[in-house]
Amino acid sequence: MRSQPIDQFVTTLPADKRASVYQSTKATHEKRTKLLFDEFADPNRLRHLAGEIKQHTLEHLDTYLPAVEAKMKTNGVTVHWAATADAANAAVLAIMRARNATKMVKAKTMVSEEIGLAHFLEQNGCEALETDLGEFIVQIDDDHPSHIVRPIIHKTRREIATSFEREGLGAYNDDPETITRRARQFLRHKYLQADVGLTGANFVSVESGRLVLVTNEGNSRFSLAAPKCHIALVGIEKLVPRDRDLGIFLNLLARSATAQELTVYTEFISGPKSPAQPDGPEEMHVIFVDNGRTEVLASECREILRCIRCGACLNVCPVYRQASGHAYRSVYPGPVGAVLSPLLAGERFPALADLPKASSLCGACNEVCPVNIPIPDLLLRLRNRAKQENVPSPGTPPMGAWALMASQPTAWKAALFGGKVLNYVPAKLIPVPAMQAWSAKRALPEWRGGEFRKWLKNRLQKSPTP
């Protein structure tokens, strides 16, 4: 194996997919920037503030978690805790069994992807139907989402039309409007038949115990209007201290995720339906999920837990744009995934240790991140960890010669001269395999080494410093 798994994946990606991922990520990113900078006096201050609020919350989870639990209980919510993916799945199943429930409609939740909930429930004789259009298509194709916010960014309308035809949702028709109407028609009856609606939570206010859910399609609203039981899977990092903090986060989330001022449906849910309301859940359960998060909290990469899953770092990332989501081989792709996935993998860290290396460290992800996560720094820490743990790193050229050269002035000077000579030698002829591989797709700029030394020497001669 001469290269990292992520690099190998990229070489197999069809050109049209790459182009479509590139185009749509770029468009969202540009619109986001315009929205933020046109409307707010100081959008960067907003990002920094949101990051500080989240960092504070994470560093006080020991008090905030029991506090929000107590608040939820007074709101009439049953609170459960799940240390692992298995425990979370088991908790959901136990709630369903206790109600003799077999049918679930699911809004989009990344935690449920993490724990493989839908497959688990199906193996246990329950139906767990995805209702977000993109996730629904992922589910009927037995595929995986390739973007946090736009799960089927990798699929064309022709592929979708073929899947709908196969599933008996109508004759082949690749008009996006027809596809959407057919899903609407099919899914609305599923909501009405479902026993349980499952959601995640974008934020949880400790102060009021409210879950905040945002969707554009209205599927989570439907999941809380038709079924009689609501289960929410919530990562322990989702808390914010006060209701007023939500104003900041909601403003940032919609702009960062989909370049909207506000997501269409923003729901503030604190408990089962009011007694006088005929529709909606009579019972509400919240399952707080750890599944590796406490380990991340203990690590020196805990800042990644601030993430509000907006996908902005994916959209701006030059590597994600070329590689697309499946290259990351985990639930969370892109820059956030390159940090979070190896951390959440626990003992499987070495299998994903190539992800932190798939970055040019350009810093664009940090710059767009609505909670100002220093992703490039975290990538470096993880690279370091991989090195400390002696994880093999195929394709990385050996750096020993470089280290020797950079620490010996004579060797350095000789290399400078060699560099000049190389200007006259075609790169293809340089007998270093790594160099050949690198230059196969790139052109080297002209060697101009030594300029700095010359400049410094001149300067020292002209103005000898005391």
Partner: protein
């Protein structure tokens, strides 16, 4: 399950114990997240009307305009909150068939649903619904057209004000324009699971 609670909380404590110093909760003015130049000194109903249009919703100022819009769209069959119907009925002609009981076994029969809003947000063009004012959650969601009756005095200027007023209702919903998706090749389609038309009827 209780074991999981203890193990999670003790791992959290263990993770945080080595920190010498913990990040403080920043103090800030919610003003920083407000599009102040948009709303300053203006009539909130006017701003709301303009902003809801931007998110492809619609605000109408009188029941006659609403009825004309429904007629033009061919949406003749629907549901209305029984508490609202006495005032609205005189504006609807005989071609309309409006029910004040919502039957969940016939969701596709209702082309429109009229319910009361709990308020609105001018800055974002948002309609606020909650359990106390919505007669049926499904009627505000399943029909193609949702009409929310909004009192002019219930319009908040901005998001932070609306957050501050959430109160004790267990189910507060902000709707900003029609339900939509861009999942298929990034092409925007309105009306996915919820309404394809989100209309506010402003009343005094």
């Amino acid at each position: 399950m209780n074991d999981d609670r203890e193990s999670i909380l003790s791992r959290v404590r263990g993770a945080l114990a080595p920190l010498h110093e913990r990040a403080a909760l920043p103090d800030y003015d919610t003003e920083i997240a407000v599009m102040r130049s948009l709303i300053a000194g203006r009539d909130l109903a006017e701003v709301f009307t303009e902003r809801i249009k931007r998110v492809s919703g619609l605000a109408v100022a009188d029941p006659a305009a609403l009825v004309a819009h429904l007629r033009a769209g061919g949406w003749l069959r629907g549901y209305c909150d029984p508490a609202l119907w006495p005032q609205l009925a005189p504006h609807f002609g005989p071609e309309f068939k409006v029910e004040v009981d919502y039957d969940r076994t016939r969701v596709d029969d209702y082309a429109f649903g009229i319910t009361r809003a709990a308020g609105a947000i001018a800055e974002s063009g948002t309609i606020i619904l909650n359990d106390a004012t919505t007669s049926r959650r499904l009627a505000a969601l399943a029909p193609w057209v949702h009409v929310a009756v909004v009192g002019r005095g219930q319009i908040f200027a901005d998001l932070p004000q609306a957050v501050a007023a959430i109160g004790g209702d267990p189910n507060v919903i902000w709707c900003t324009g029609p339900s939509k998706t861009a999942d298929v090749e990034g092409i925007l389609i309105e009306g996915v699971h919820g309404p394809g038309q989100q209309i506010a009827l402003l009343v005094d």
